[in-house]
């Protein structure tokens, strides 16, 4: 079944590439609509593939890493498209399409090599929403920090910073709401799987710290609407914390035996 994957994946890839290109290059309404159409077509290709896969293997295709990456690709592009239709942020939809394409490429490069076993605790309806919401949150917050760094170092004047800083704010609000959902989904899941909603497991602790830093940003911005530089510095620091949580936590001494360190 996965043998057909390159066909569907390439079709989706081409659609999304065209869509991002159109979104980024043009200001014309017609072309933007065409781009939205292409984004949708790409999603449709993957949906068709996953439906066929589902009926073929007689179980929900949510078990292997390859399968979850497929869902990431679908959700990221879907959320990107919906938020485009809602807010008309062209950079946002291009960015999420770009990430979705990365997932497709990873899947194309590792056909069928993924581990097919999944420990029972991970076999939960919470698994997919928990992971997808987190991935999306990290993607948005990552983008907000890029904007922050740009604002910090390429120091636009007080007048011209308005636009970029609004972009950072919007990304943080979007990302933060997803981060909150990810945290809370995780809590509900943990209750079902381990009997307690929050155990201060190192990964949980670091995810929580990340959340707190963005919480600081939101509150700081709320009452200090004009302290742009300081706000951007807070945002840049938050991103460092986010990276620790994502990549670094496995190497911290406190993280031995974390339930979240599954690999091998």
């Amino acid at each position: 079944m996965w043998l057909d994957f390159p066909i569907y994946a390439s079709a989706a890839f081409v659609c999304w590439l065209a869509a991002s290109g159109l979104f980024l290059s043009s200001g014309k309404k017609m072309l933007n609509q065409l781009a939205a159409g292409f984004s949708f077509a790409g999603i449709a290709f993957l949906l068709v593939f996953i439906t066929i896969l589902w009926t073929h293997i007689h179980r929900p295709p949510m078990r292997t890493l390859g399968e979850t990456r497929l869902w990431y690709a679908i959700f990221l592009s879907g959320i990107g498209l919906v938020s485009y239709l809602r807010w008309k942020y062209k950079w946002l939809v291009s960015y999420s399409l770009g990430l979705a394409m990365v997932f497709l490429i990873i899947n194309l490069q590792h056909p069928e090599t993924y581990d097919k076993t999944l420990m029972p605790a991970l076999q939960s309806p919470w698994f997919i929403p928990h992971v997808i919401v987190y991935i999306f949150a990290y993607a948005m917050l990552g983008a907000s920090s890029l904007v922050a760094l740009r604002n910090l170092f390429f120091a636009p004047t007080e007048k011209t910073i308005k636009g970029p800083i609004q972009m950072a704010d919007n990304l943080v609000y979007l990302g933060f709401s997803f981060l909150t959902l990810g945290l809370l989904f995780g809590a509900l899941w943990a209750k079902d799987a381990w009997g307690h909603y929050w155990t201060w497991d190192p990964k949980e602790t670091w995810a929580f710290i990340t959340w707190m830093f963005y919480l600081v940003y939101i509150h700081y911005r709320f009452r200090h609407a004009n302290e742009h530089k300081k706000a951007m510095a807070v945002l840049a620091v938050s991103f460092a914390v986010l990276l620790i949580c994502w990549f670094g936590v496995n190497y911290l001494p406190s993280a031995e035996n974390s339930v979240h360190v599954y690999s091998e």
């Binding site: 933060f176 009997g195 710290i209 091998e264």
Partner: protein
């Protein structure tokens, strides 16, 4: 408002200095208390004292708003000037938890003195929680009076977090987590807590059947001399036996016959379904480099039967690893003291609730694997859970609000008193 004015009217506006000082004082006091008490593990009083304290706390919060809503301290506590240092103070404690491994024996005296290995149960943690609850309580009431629908998102986020902190802090000592060992066809009515104390349950559980579904086993290459799995770039080369033929480390493997559950009979394997049976397969291995072909049986082995490998050449053998569990479940019959009788099947991620207790599948005799006759259950009672969930759901709705409304224009302070 200038300093001059504020002095005249007797209103002192909080700046970050006041906010920071209060948070710092709370942390210092907390660590001092912790050190003075000799690094004990703190426990909040149980029912009914925790509930009475909670009600008194809520009453006090409301009372303050009825008599002195405009007092400068109340105003100060309800401002970002207090909130930011408080959030940072809490972050500081959580950061400590992020770096110091929790729930282990403290390694040095300083760590022990300040309770750094069990921070959640220390004075500074509980005090800062209390302080956050005071702040959240004050701003929630402040924004609710008068009610304005524009503040709905604010209310959901802040009151949601208030509820979560309130119920988890107060409820921590009413929560019971016990372990029960159930053996097949036996009835058990006792469980043990973390300290090993035996506790009688209001029901008895009979384990009717314990079963495991397994994944197909994986095969790998083993070094004949060391008996270790051969690594390639630091990774074991594993292939799952769910296809008729596959390639592993350049060997072509053809599966002639696969037996899910089998045992040895003379020098081959046959279908068997008795304790100790395990998967086996007859394979033909093709080595393209020296053009040899070998065929024979491999067997994963079990707690009572030795595994069997297939020697490929002088250096390497093909081995079948014990299959990994895909799902394990317990069929239970529960008899309560109140006369209820329930039959149910529980598995990981699918607990069962009865009489205020929730029963979780946690473990089994992993050495015996599929033939384990022991099922380890966790029994959890958490009477404050509905409040915690309510807080969580409010926060979820709040997150949806943040997503939909986004950042308020002009910083959003225009609809704030």
């Amino acid at each position: 408002m200038s300093n001059e004015e504020s002095r005249k009217t007797g209103v002192h506006r909080w700046s970050y200095r006041e906010g920071t000082m209060v948070t710092a004082a709370i942390l210092l006091l907390g660590f001092a208390l912790q050190a003075a008490s000799g690094g004990i593990v703190l426990r909040i009083a149980g029912f009914p004292w925790n509930m009475l304290a909670g009600l008194a706390f809520l009453g006090l919060l409301i009372l303050v708003f009825v008599i002195r809503p405009k007092h400068s301290i109340v105003k100060g506590l309800g401002s970002v000037k207090a909130a930011l240092p408080a959030i940072l103070g809490f972050t500081f404690l959580v950061l400590l938890m992020g770096f110091v491994k929790q729930d282990v024996e403290p390694k040095n005296t300083l760590v022990k003195l300040f309770g750094l290995t069990h921070l959640v149960k220390t004075w500074p943690f509980i005090l800062i929680n209390l302080y956050l609850m005071i702040l959240l309580g004050i701003i929630t009431i402040k924004r609710l009076t008068p009610f304005n629908f524009k503040n709905a998102g604010f209310f959901l986020n802040h009151f949601g977090l208030f509820l979560v902190l309130f119920s988890t802090t107060l409820g921590s000592s009413d929560m019971q987590r016990l372990t029960m060992n159930c053996y097949e066809n036996q009835t058990e009515s006792h469980a043990v807590d973390a300290s090993g104390k035996m506790i009688e349950m209001p029901f008895s559980i009979k384990l009717v059947n314990f079963s495991i579904d397994e994944f197909r086993p994986k095969v790998t290459i083993v070094d004949n001399k060391s008996g270790q799995i051969v690594l390639n770039k630091g990774k074991a080369q594993l292939e799952m036996m769910d296809r008729d033929s596959f390639t592993i480390a350049s060997y072509h493997i053809k599966v002639e016959q696969f037996l899910e559950s089998s045992g040895k009979s003379e020098d081959f394997y046959i279908k068997k379904n008795e304790s100790g049976s395990a998967p086996s397969a007859k394979v033909t291995v093709n080595n393209p480099t020296d053009k040899t072909e070998i065929s024979g049986w491999i067997f994963s082995g079990s707690y009572s039967k030795p595994p069997e490998m297939l020697q490929l050449n002088e250096s390497f053998s093909l081995a079948m690893l014990p299959p990994e569990p895909q799902k394990f479940s317990s069929e239970l019959n529960i008899q309560t003291k109140t006369g209820k009788n329930r039959s149910t099947v529980i598995e990981v991620n699918m607990p069962y609730s009865i009489e205020g207790w929730t029963i979780y599948q946690t473990n089994y005799n992993t050495e015996m694997g599929r033939w384990s006759n022991l099922s380890v259950l966790e029994l959890v009672r958490d009477p404050w859970l509905p409040l915690v969930y309510m807080g969580i759901f409010l926060m979820m709705a709040g997150a949806a609000f943040l997503f939909i409304t986004g950042k308020p224009k002009n910083g959003g302070i225009e609809h704030v008193a």
